[in-house]
Amino acid sequence: MKKGTLRQILLITDGCSNQGEDPVAMAALAREHGMTVNVIGVLDENERTDGLKEIENIALSGGGIHQLVYAKQLSHTVQMVTRKAMTQTIQGFIHKELQSILGQEKEIEDLPPDKRGQVVEVVDELGETMDLEVLIMIDTSASMQHKLPTVEDALLDLSISLHSRIGENEYALYAFPGKRKQVERLMDWTPILKDIHTIFPKLTTGGITPTGPALKEAIDAYQKKRSKRGLLDDGYIEESSS
C-alpha cells in the first residue's frame, strides 16, 4: 500500500487580514482540496491581538490547529503544531476507516481501551512514515518585522524535527505582502529547508495583510505541483472531515 502524502499550509501571522478575499473562505477551499491549514499567531510580550477570532476561524475551517504564542516560544510551537496537525489528519482518516468497518456513529472511544492501543500504534506509525508537504506562508506586514528572526529560527527547528522522521518532506516558502505583488514566492518546493538564512535578511516588510489572497496562492501552488507530477502520483489523502 502506498502511504500517501499529507499536505499542510502553515500560516504565521500576527493579526487581522485587511485586503482581498475572506481568509476563512479560502481556508475552507483549501480543505476541500485535501489540505490542512494551520495558523500560528505570534505576539510580543504584553501584546494583545484583535486578530484572535480570525486566526481561530481560519484554522477551524481549514481543518487544522491554531495557536497563539509569544515570540520566544515560537520554535517549540511551530514543530508541535505541525506534528499535532499531522496526527489529527491521520486520526480523521483512520476514524473514517473505522466507521466503514464498525458502522456509522462508531467512535474510537467505543472500542474497549485495550483495542485503542492498536489504533494509536497505526496512527503513530503513519505519522512517522508518511510523506509531508508544508507550504509556509509568512506575514511580512510592518508589525512582523522584529519577529522575523524568531520565525527563521522556528523554521530551522521545524526542519530538524521533520527530518528526524522516516518519511520524506518537502517545503515551499511564501511571504505576504510581497515586494511588488500581494504574495511572493521565496522558495520553490525543496526537500531541505536549509538556505533560509540567505532569504530572511532580504525580506522587506510593510503595509497590508492580504491573508486571503495568500491562502489562495497557496492552493494554486499545490495545484500546480500536482499537475506537474501528472498522473504518476495518486497517493494523496483526501481529507475533508475530522
Partner: protein
C-alpha cells in the same frame, strides 16, 4: 495563551469516586498531584492501595501513553517508569473522560533531594539513571523528554525513578516530546532521531542544570564553545567535564559507556588523571572480570571432579590388581 485548551479537564474535587466504565474498578480522589500537557494527575485510594490516576480528554493521547507504560512494565528485572495498572473511561455528566491508573511514586524532586543531601549525590544518581537508560535502550526505546521534572528520588536507599514517560519513542523514529534546554536539536548539536545518544545529551544537560539552576538560553552562534565554557566556569561541573563534553558532542554510542567512564571518574578522585587514559582498557577489564570468575570456578570444580574420579579409578584398579594376585 493557547487555543487548544480543550485538553484540560475541570478539577475533580477531593472525595469524588471515579468508577471505570469497562473494568468497574472504583477510585477515590485524595488530591491533585499535577497538571501535564495531556491531563491531570491525582492521588487516589483504591483496593490496590494508593495509586496515581491520570485523567485526560483525548483518548488517543492517553492511549498512546498507556502503550508506553505497558511496554516499560514488560522490561524484565528493572523497574523503569511507574508500574501500570489499568486504563478505563469515566462517565461524568454525559461526557466520557479517558483515564489510566499507575503506581504512585512518593518521591522528592531530583534537585530538591540534591540540595538537601549534597552535591555528591548527582554522580550517584546519574549512575543509576544511566543504568536504567541502558536497560531501556536495550529494549529498543529512547526516553526522549528527559529532564529533572520527570525524575523523582524515592525511598531509602535513595533510588531515582521516572515519572512521566509520555515522550518515550521507539528507536529510529523521531522523538515525540522534548524540552528545549535538554534537546540537542535546540542547541544545534544533533537531530531528533530517537537513539541512545539523544538521551545521553539530555543526561549531560541535567547535570548542567544542577550547576545552573536558572538554566540559560542558547547564544546566536557557537553553542558548542558556549556550553564548554559554562562547564569550565562552574565549580560543580568542572570535574565532570570529560564526560559531559563527550555526551554533549554525541561521542557515546551506549549509556553503558558513559556509565563506565562516570564510574571510573567518581572512584578516581585524585587519581582520575592517571586512570583516564586507561579507562577504555580498564572498562573492558572490569567487564571481563565480572563474567570470568564464575566460569573459572566452574572449570576448577570440573577439574576437581575429574581428579577425584581418576583417583578412585586408580585405587579401584589397585584393589582389583591386589585381588588377582
Amino acid at each position: 495563551m493557547t487555543g487548544t485548551s480543550k485538553n484540560q479537564v475541570a478539577d475533580v474535587p477531593r472525595g469524588t469516586r471515579i468508577s471505570g466504565k469497562w473494568n468497574k474498578q472504583t477510585y477515590q480522589i485524595m488530591k491533585k498531584l499535577g497538571n501535564g500537557a495531556l491531563g491531570t494527575v491525582y492521588l487516589a485510594d483504591s483496593l490496590k492501595g494508593r495509586v496515581a490516576l491520570k485523567i485526560g480528554t483525548d483518548s488517543m493521547s492517553i492511549t498512546s501513553e498507556v502503550n508506553v507504560l505497558k511496554q516499560l512494565s514488560m522490561v524484565q528485572g528493572t523497574v523503569l517508569g511507574p508500574f501500570f495498572y489499568e486504563i478505563d473511561d469515566w462517565e461524568r455528566s454525559g461526557k466520557c473522560y479517558p483515564f489510566y491508573v499507575m503506581e504512585y511514586i512518593d518521591g522528592e524532586p531530583l534537585f530538591a533531594f540534591i540540595n538537601r543531601r549534597g552535591k555528591e549525590w548527582i554522580g550517584i544518581l546519574m549512575l543509576q539513571l544511566l543504568r536504567d537508560l541502558s536497560a531501556l535502550h536495550r529494549e529498543g526505546w529512547v526516553f526522549g523528554d528527559l529532564k529533572p521534572d520527570n525524575l523523582l528520588v524515592e525511598g531509602s536507599p535513595p533510588k531515582l525513578r521516572w515519572l512521566d514517560v509520555g515522550g518515550t519513542t521507539s528507536m529510529g523514529r523521531s522523538v515525540k516530546e522534548f524540552t528545549e534546554f535538554f534537546d540537542r536539536g535546540y542547541w544545534g548539536l544533533g537531530n531528533r532521531v530517537a537513539e541512545p545518544s539523544y538521551d545521553l545529551f539530555s543526561v549531560a544537560m541535567i547535570v548542567l542544570n544542577a550547576g545552573y539552576p536558572n538554566r540559560f538560553d542558547r547564544p546566536k552562534k557557537g553553542t558548542e564553545d558556549y556550553l564548554m565554557n559554562k562547564i569550565e566556569n562552574n565549580q560543580l561541573l568542572k570535574e565532570y567535564k570529560p564526560i559531559l563534553s563527550k555526551a554533549l558532542l554525541g561521542k557515546y554510542q551506549h549509556a553503558s559507556e558513559m556509565r563506565q567512564e562516570l564510574f571510573v571518574l567518581l572512584q578516581g578522585g585524585e587519581k582520575t588523571k592517571v586512570r583516564k587514559n586507561k579507562s577504555r582498557s580498564a572498562n573492558s577489564r572490569v567487564a571481563s572480570r565480572r563474567t570470568r570468575p564464575p566460569a573459572k570456578k566452574k572449570r576448577s570444580g570440573w577439574i576437581e571432579t575429574v581428579l577425584l574420579v581418576a583417583f578412585l579409578l586408580f585405587f579401584y584398579t589397585l584393589y582389583l590388581v591386589g585381588h588377582i594376585f
